[in-house]
């Protein structure tokens, strides 16, 4: 039984160029409802850009994005992004607002909640990530791990159908990585649909349901973690794994 109302996300034949740089060259990605897909690959392979295209922070030049089987490219992109939570490498909390206000901003302005309702919801979300006692602190007074958990709470408060994680632990001190990964693993077990761009091979292997290996703007291999990590078929994946493991 899932704790979340999650959706199925499909990207079909996504193309994108920045000038003459063809960053995404026909990417296909299918994330079944309630599952976690991790996307791995070397820096500059287009992983983070793919996430931004799938929630239309960047519009694709070609291809389609489907949520629960329906194309979302004609929808209002702002409304699409309310259905997809996103967590960033650099946390991107709002430094001029308190932890609770970071969460209530969207609840009040986009979900139309009253101040009290929003505060209550924010505290509930903070409780889930173990940071209710920090509700009135400023982000700058939190550790990186705490900030990232607030960022996750901020995204979850919008009751997204899918969660994106863009190298969510890459900017953290090593001792803080575990807490954030554990929280992400809990979400995955709770039935959230997740797309996780990561350099954490342990997470990719143990928590995700599917793994997609990208290099130079294409999907080189994808399948179960077992398949990719124990029997890589391509030289590129073999080389990548021997570099990172």
């Amino acid at each position: 039984m899932s704790e979340f109302v999650s959706g199925t996300l499909t990207a079909k034949n996504i193309h994108l160029s920045f000038g003459s740089n063809h960053v995404l060259r026909g990417i296909d990605l299918h994330v079944e409802k309630g599952t976690t897909a991790s996307v791995i690959g070397p820096s500059g392979s287009g992983k983070s850009t793919l996430l931004r295209v799938m929630n239309r922070l960047i519009e694709p030049e070609q291809g389609d994005i489907l949520l629960d089987g329906r194309s979302v490219l004609k929808d209002n992109p702002d409304e699409l992004r309310r259905r997809i939570g996103m967590v960033f490498q650099q946390f991107n909390l709002f430094p001029h607002k308190t932890v609770a206000e970071n969460i209530t901003l969207a609840l009040r302005k986009l979900r139309g909640m009253s101040k009290e309702q929003a505060r209550e919801e924010a505290l509930a979300q903070l409780d889930l990530v173990g940071l209710k006692h920090k509700a009135d602190a400023r982000p700058a007074n939190l550790s990186g791990g705490q900030q990232q958990r607030v960022a996750i709470a901020r995204a979850l408060a919008m009751k997204p159908e899918v969660m994106f994680f863009d190298e969510a632990t890459s900017a953290l001190d090593p001792e803080l990585v575990k807490g954030v990964l554990a929280l992400m693993a809990d979400l995955a077990k709770g039935g959230m649909t997740m797309v996780v761009v990561t350099h954490e091979m342990g997470f990719s292997r143990n928590v995700s349901d599917t793994v997609t290996f990208m290099d130079a703007g294409i999907v080189v291999e994808s399948g179960s973690p077992e398949q990719l990590f124990t029997e890589p078929r391509t030289e590129r994946l073999k080389g990548f794994l021997s570099d990172v493991l």
Binding site: N55, L57, D78, E79, R81, R82, I84, G85, M86, F88, Q90, N92, L93, F94, P95, H96, L105, A106, K109, L110, L128, V129, G130, L131, R138, A140, N141, L142, S143, G145, Q146, R149, A151, R154, A155, M158, E175, L176, K178, G179, V180, L181, A182, L183, M184, A185, D186, K189, E200, G202, F203, N206, V207
Partner: protein
């Protein structure tokens, strides 16, 4: 000693200063404050519009803001005030029947300060990390709302000291509206000092005006320093160990 006495007599003739004080308080000070405050408010609003145009994705808006800023920042204040006051004054008088040059002075000061304030706001807004806009948009806010709710407030906060400096400059520049020929009740601090100097043949009237200007600007200068210090060190980086990290996510095998 003769020279010292001569200087004291020229600058610190208490009789002249005493005579000019009542009209400084009653007329000059309020007029200077009104001139500076109104043009400060209009300049700030217009400056914000210019800043947003300056960072807009619309090239026409960017270009218009650029031209405006270059022109009004590039001209001497006295020239702008004269040209606007003497050039547009008669038209305004014909249209509205207002013959006072006072509103034209305010208009010129506002237009000038808007150019400077626009650049101050633009630099502040552009200094905000791009991730802030991205994170706000990722939550589902549009571009305008993201700028209004998250990016602009942070940018403005960073440039508050520069903004207050601009207000200080404005208080001083307000003295230049005398060039438009003010009516007796419209005179600001400088004009009153100048009139007293002309009447008495002694510079103490200017000294009286100087004291009033300093009384306005020095507290603002210290206010800037105070804001600056607060922005720098107001939020100490007090990091705590991540003790709760172990509590959440128990049972995860990572």
């Amino acid at each position: 000693m003769d020279y010292l006495n001569q200087l004291a007599e020229t600058f610190l003739n208490w009789k002249v200063i005493g005579e000019v004080l009542p009209s400084m308080f009653a007329v000059g000070l309020p007029n200077t404050i009104v001139l500076a405050a109104i043009s400060g408010v209009i300049g700030t609003l217009l400056g914000m519009v210019l800043a947003l145009m300056g960072i807009s994705r619309n090239p026409v808006a960017r270009w218009a803001a650029r031209v405006y800023t270059d022109v009004f920042r590039g001209l001497p204040a006295v020239l702008t005030i004269l040209v606007i006051g003497l050039g547009f004054g008669p038209i305004v008088r014909e249209l509205t029947g207002i013959s006072s040059p006072y509103p034209m002075g305010i208009a010129a000061l506002s237009l000038m300060s808007a150019a400077y304030i626009g650049e101050i706001f633009r630099s502040g807004i552009q200094s905000v990390d791009k991730g802030q806009l991205e994170a706000t948009r990722a939550l589902g806010f549009g571009y305008g709302a993201s700028m209004r709710l998250v990016v602009v407030p942070q940018g403005v906060r960073r440039v508050l000291p520069a903004l207050v400096n601009q207000f200080i400059a404005l208080i001083k520049e307000s003295s230049l509206v005398f060039t438009l020929g003010l009516m007796s009740s419209e005179r600001e601090l400088f004009q009153i000092g100048q009139d007293a100097a002309a009447r008495s043949g002694n510079l103490s009237g200017y000294v009286a005006a100087a004291i009033f200007y300093l009384a306005l600007t020095i507290p603002l200068t210290h206010f800037v320093n105070w804001i600056d210090r607060r922005l720098r060190s107001g939020r100490p980086e007090k990091k705590e160990p991540d003790e709760v990290a172990a509590v959440v996510g128990k049972g995860a095998h990572v």
